[in-house]
């Protein structure tokens, strides 16, 4: 806390206060700088090494200033590197992640908006209690769901498919999206809905004309939260898919395990960046909403 120092004491006093101010400022910036460097070190390492030739990495280590520049590792990671036997790069796994994340995000967000609207504005007997049960899904450890999902995916012939993962993420995701949207819609005055009803507006008209136009902030928060969570998920993708059907997180771990002896740090760095890029882009462009989602998620 900076103190306003306006004491008409001697000059020595004023100089001492000024020194104290300067030294505390320096300490604060030094502290922040040290931590910022620690936080940025991993990004620096992957970005730099995705452009450095492998012999250079082996000679100087991962943490060293780049001396040469090449794009080869990116091409190698994208279309040639071997992921458990198939040597066609991580592009397929990247597409799998996109094909899984985008539909699952859209479906769970839309259902969440609809459910939140019903629970907050069309209450029926027991709806509050059912909502409370629904939100318990937010806390479920995925381990409890592994065997039941294995059985259900088997029955639906969705094992080892992106569609199966979409189903899982939608069912898990609606707890979150319903919770987010319901808590947001509760703040919309009921009188607004009542007035619309008296004017003859029905369920869908109120949804399209009143609720949705007020929704962009919460929908953006929900989309960012779901996209990041589903894209970054590993356990379910690893358990329920294999080989070519795996999302990128699972492929990355598989690559790391396979190349144990001679680590291909250049190609792996590019693959890591490809896997990290979509959520990072969302973070940099939607930062405000990302932080809001964190706070909402924490308060739950």
């Amino acid at each position: 806390m900076t103190l306003a120092i306006a004491i008409p004491a001697g000059q020595a006093e004023a100089r001492r206060a000024w020194w104290r101010h300067v030294s505390s400022r320096t300490a604060i910036y030094a502290f922040l700088t040290v931590f910022a460097l620690l936080y940025l070190l991993p990004v620096f390492v992957v970005i730099a090494n995705s452009f450095r030739p492998l012999p250079e990495i082996t000679q100087y280590g991962l943490i060293w200033w780049p001396r040469s520049f090449r794009l080869g590792a990116w091409a190698e990671a994208w279309s040639h590197t071997c992921v458990v036997g198939t040597c066609a790069g991580v592009q397929r796994n990247f597409y799998n992640s996109l094909l899984m994340t985008i539909p699952a995000t859209i479906i769970s967000t839309l259902l969440g908006a609809l459910n939140g609207y019903i629970i907050s504005k069309w209450r029926f007997r027991g709806s509050e209690m059912l909502f409370a049960f629904m939100t318990l899904g937010v806390f479920m450890p995925p381990q409890v769901a592994l065997l039941p999902w294995a059985y259900i995916l088997g029955k639906l012939s969705l094992t080892n498919s992106v569609a199966g993962l979409i189903l899982i993420h939608v069912v898990q995701g609606i707890s979150f999206s319903t919770l987010f949207c319901r808590n947001y819609y509760v703040a919309i005055p009921d009188d607004l809905i009542k007035a619309a009803r008296i004017d003859g507006a029905g369920f869908w008209r109120i949804f399209y004309r009143i609720i949705l136009p007020l929704s962009p902030p919460i929908l953006i928060v929900t989309v960012i939260w779901q996209f990041t969570g589903i894209w970054n998920e590993y356990l379910l993708g690893m358990v329920f898919t294999s080989g070519r059907a795996q999302p990128i997180t699972a492929a990355l771990v598989a690559m790391g395990t396979a190349g144990q002896e001679a680590a291909q740090f250049d190609v792996m760095s590019s693959a890591v960046l490809i896997a990290a890029l979509p959520p990072l882009l969302i973070y940099f462009f939607g930062g405000k909403y990302f932080v809001r989602g964190l706070t909402l998620g924490a308060i739950k």
């Binding site: 991993p42 943490i63 769901a145 009921d190 358990v239 990072l280 973070y283």
Partner: protein, 309 residues
């Protein structure tokens, strides 16, 4: 306020249509509710049942009592996992909160380019545990990472190899977990610090309290609920730890850094001991409940107390 779902008085539609309209909300939410209830209760009971059966490679729906639980708790893998979780929870949660609080207080000192600093400390949250664990496993590797760098700088005797020793590998996961999560603690603490009435702080300063004392006695007690909320969220992360340990150490060296979630996966899908794995899953659920139920009760009690005022 409750809006009754009888048909609206203005619409002159036919009776069956009116009835359909009044049932629209219920019909629309029914699939979501059904799926959620099956997911929460159906899946839990299902797994609970398997944990009480004698299933091995395939589920068997008989009743074997607590056999799987005894097997679970007597297995070395689970005991190591459980011990790791205890150490990890305490150190990771405490350290991530301490770092987060220090960063939040530093950022709250009217610093320049505040949003830039915040962006740096928060970005790890957008990065998956898999990516985080992979990159940190390189940094910890003696052949290419931090130890190699210090050797390059001329200190040939320097040793920094957390991940290669059984005793220290857990701390590599803890350090990485702190790197990933302290930004979250920072964001919530910072929001709390910003919500404090500046007049109270000014009053303490006028009374001659030093900045350190002002923080300890005036500011931090006011954001006590945030400490609790952050601790609860981080504890949940800790209990569910899986990706990070898999990507960073693969549970090794040996099984020294295995975690309950990893042990469950191992029992279920690697060793064909489904009942034991299910018992482990139920224990993880119990741990989550142990954290959340008291917190929920406390929050409800707190809200009621605030409301009564």
């Amino acid at each position: 306020m409750t809006i009754t779902i009888s048909s609206s008085p203005a619409s002159p539609a036919s009776p069956w249509r009116q009835r359909l309209t009044s049932w629209t909300p219920v019909l629309l939410i029914a699939p979501s509710l059904g799926a959620s209830l099956i997911y929460v209760f159906g899946f839990t009971l299902w797994t609970l049942w398997i944990s009480l059966s004698s299933s091995t490679l395939l589920p068997q729906y008989d009743f074997a009592g607590l056999k799987a639980y005894f097997e679970l708790w007597s297995s070395q893998r689970w005991q190591i996992a459980y011990g790791n979780l205890l150490i990890f929870s305490v150190v990771y949660v405490a350290a991530a909160m301490a770092v987060g609080l220090a960063l939040a207080i530093a950022i709250d000192q009217r610093i320049r380019a505040e949003s830039g600093w915040r962006t740096i400390f928060l970005y790890p949250l957008a990065v998956s545990f898999v990516v985080t664990g992979t990159v940190w496993s390189w940094l910890f590797s003696p052949d290419a990472g931090i130890e190699f760098l210090v050797h390059q700088l001329g200190f040939a005797d320097f040793e920094f190899r957390l991940t290669t020793h059984r005793e220290t590998a857990l701390y590599a996961i803890i350090v990485t977990g702190i790197w990933h999560s302290s930004g979250f603690a920072m964001a919530l603490f910072l929001a709390g610090l910003r919500s404090i009435d500046p007049d109270i702080v000014k009053a303490a300063m006028v009374d001659g309290a030093s900045p350190a004392r002002t923080y300890r006695k005036v500011i931090l007690p006011q954001i006590a609920p945030i400490f609790l909320a952050v601790a609860v969220v981080l504890l949940q992360y800790a209990i569910k730890t899986f990706d990070l340990a898999v990507a960073l150490t693969k549970g090794g060296p040996g099984i020294s850094t295995t975690f309950p979630a990893m042990a469950v996966y191992d029992f279920m899908f690697q060793r064909g001991q489904i009942a034991v794995g299910a018992a482990g899953a139920i224990m993880i659920l119990a741990a989550v409940a142990l954290v959340l139920v008291p917190y929920a009760l406390y929050s409800a009690w707190h809200a009621r107390k605030e409301g009564a005022r």
